[in-house]
Symmetry: C2
Subunit: 423 residues, 2 copies
């Protein structure tokens, strides 16, 4: 018989507690869950001193270990950020509860009534890096949808995460729901991630949010479904029939408004017929904003030394920076083929006045979100009107694109009969 | 650098071909796909001699290797079975095509129009055992929904499967769709399954249909989503307020009508207050039909030597046979707790006149399908009115319960704007 390690025993116990909490949460009414969310928001504010003290310890450790300024800023909490965190919880409380919705109902010829009803998934495992506010954001979306959560945050923010998770648990308990509704893996041991991935008895789905290395580890080890949040290598295609003024506004927005996010554009494909004019307008605007253009031969020739010659890898890279690959294409078909070959199927768009070309693009590009005449930056739960999001799924199954409350539920079939048997 | 084995090279090539076919299939209209299905049905009949010759070889090998009569019967094709197979293809052609459906459409305050549109998943891998008709059934459901298929059948039926898949490919090609729409793994090498599981670049989802060993292998190795089709350990709870005549009809149907299937009942929980009367009616009816009752102490005492004492394992076993675990419980809550603890979350039901108890059961039992006053045997795509099914998913994500055409699709978001940028 295999002997379990101490870590495995601890993790199994965490799983058992989460499963028990999930059973109670699944039965909770919307009012009970919202009361718990309100209490969680209060506890975040009330426990402010303790959370900030824990965060100060994380920051001190981070500084000592040489984290850079940007990473320290992501890690840092202050009273304003805690207020914003609590405000976010109250916003989720105000959203409609998808659980219990009758998705579809019909009656069979034999009189059997079938209802497809929305229910919680059960136990959601969330593995993330760095920012401690994810602890709160992810947990409250799960609570709202009646799911128990097992959180595993980055080691840099472990003390902040523990303090936040404890505050959330106290809030749940004050409202009469299990304190175990929100559980955090208290160790920074990397083996805990692999252990979590093996716990398909207790964990129904894992959502990894972080770098490729983390997601790879989860994909390799997970025995339960994983909803992946990979990177966005997003492209915009400027068609021959584009309004070039609009193209400039959209490309500049998609690249410069917030370059470090997954829905920022990384590649612009320009129809050869409008390339000189596009570069004279949008090209100059991008350069003026400090964007490094990595161009193909035609682009470099026009920009004369102000563009870097692109290497093939540039078309497969998520720069997350003021860098942009620009490439001339000869047709809509060539643009679509490039995107299918090099993109990450996240968010891609066409800019054109030609509705036929636009509809072909919208139909044929196999990405979670496809755009006609708008910035790719709108791929976001809030911008979609979902009120909140747990991330942007790059998977095709269960959740694709912005993943919000509805995507944290599943369904079951309830059948009501009067003695039907099968003939 | 790692050198790929010959098998890996072959499998990658299969994946590449399936992906290319999927791109064409995704663009196909419902009329094109239906024409392909009609041609596939014709090719099945036309190639009858070749398919039956291949099947005869499989049967001869099966007999030589000592397959039992039931297994040989599952393997055996004849002109009638081929006609039925072709008829099944035509039935799928007649069903509505879910692809292209606008699931939801809305406009944001900034004028951006968002459409959530149903699209094919892409490449579906199906791993199954024994029955060669699955080759045809699974492939046509995928073709109907615009998905390419990579099939991996059992080694016993390899020659039949190859002949059927070739006929289907010819049908697709005759209708102008890629012959590669339906691809079959031509080797019986077990390593091919593990190789398929690693091909997340080419395969979007794997659906394993077979024994636990097969499913375990896929779950352990798969890098892409897996929709599992595990066993059904289904329970019926006969409440104190049950109509015992109805309970008898339902329990007998759920156990005896077809004991070897996943939605047959394996455990009956009976409220203590009606146990003697239930056993006098339903108990006798079951015994008369040759059902072996594995009872707890109370049941055995009443049936006096005509029941086998149950061991704990009996409540966790899918008998797939004329065997039934029967256990007395003291309350609805005890019944629900038993089902949550021992069941496989497939199909479970309550028999009662008490609508409050029924609704509590329907709400609290976390199974794909939950029944009130009907036989669990209705968990089936055909019985649900779906027209066809690829199986019964025991997973919670993406597809739960009967998995039909809609469950072979995913969605994407199409956004239509007039120059929107993010502020």
């Amino acid at each position: 018989m295999e002997t379990m390690t101490d870590l495995a025993v601890q993790m199994q116990e965490l799983g058992r507690r989460a499963r028990a909490a999930a059973r109670v949460l699944a039965r909770a009414t919307a009012a009970q869950k919202n009361a718990a969310l309100e209490a969680m928001a209060e506890e975040i504010v009330r426990s402010g001193t303790a959370i900030l003290a824990a965060n100060a310890e994380d920051l001190a450790r981070g500084e000592a270990s040489g984290l850079n300024g940007a990473m320290l800023d992501r890690l840092r909490l202050n009273p304003q950020r805690l207020e914003a965190m609590a405000g976010g919880v109250r916003e989720v409380a105000a959203l409609p509860d998808p659980v219990g919705e009758k998705i579809r109902e019909w009656t069979r010829p034999n009189g059997l009534r079938i209802s497809k009803v929305r229910v919680p998934i059960g136990v959601v495992g969330i593995i993330y890096e760095s920012r401690p506010n994810v602890t709160c954001d992810a947990a409250v979306l799960c609570t709202k949808t009646g799911n128990a959560t097992i959180l595993r945050g980055g080691s840099e923010s472990i003390r902040s995460n523990v303090a936040i998770a404890e505050a959330l648990g106290r809030g749940a308990a004050r409202a009469g729901l299990p304190a175990d509704s929100v559980l955090l893996v208290g160790t920074t041991d990397r083996e805990a991630v692999r252990e979590l991935c093996r716990m398909d008895r207790y964990v129904d789905v894992i959502v990894p949010r972080g770098g490729k290395g983390l997601i790879e580890t989860v994909v390799t080890h997970a025995r339960m479904p994983v909803i992946k949040h990979y990177d966005g290598i997003c492209a915009l295609y400027v068609d021959a029939a584009a309004d070039l003024g609009m193209a400039e506004r959209i490309v500049v927005n998609a690249k410069c408004q917030r370059p470090g996010v997954c829905n920022a554009v990384e590649t612009v494909l320009v129809h050869r017929a409008v390339l000189p004019e596009f570069l004279a307008g949008a090209g100059e605007a991008l350069l003026a904003r400090g964007v490094e253009i990595r161009g193909d031969e035609e682009v470099c020739q026009i920009l004369r030394g102000r563009a870097t010659p692109a290497v093939p890898e540039d078309y497969r890279t998520e720069f997350l920076d003021l860098k942009l690959a620009v490439k001339a294409v000869g047709s809509l078909e060539e643009a679509i083929a490039h995107i299918e070959e090099h993109g990450s199927h996240h968010s891609d768009g066409i800019i054109t006045r030609d509705s036929g070309a636009a509809e072909e693009f919208l139909r044929e590009v196999d990405s979670a979100t496809v755009y006609w005449n708008a910035s790719t930056r709108f791929t976001d739960g809030g911008e979609f009107g979902f009120g909140a999001e747990i991330g942007i799924s790059t998977d095709k199954l269960h959740a694709r694109g912005p993943m919000a409350l509805e995507e944290l539920t599943t369904y079951k079939y309830q059948l009501r009969g009067d003695g039907q048997v099968r003939g």
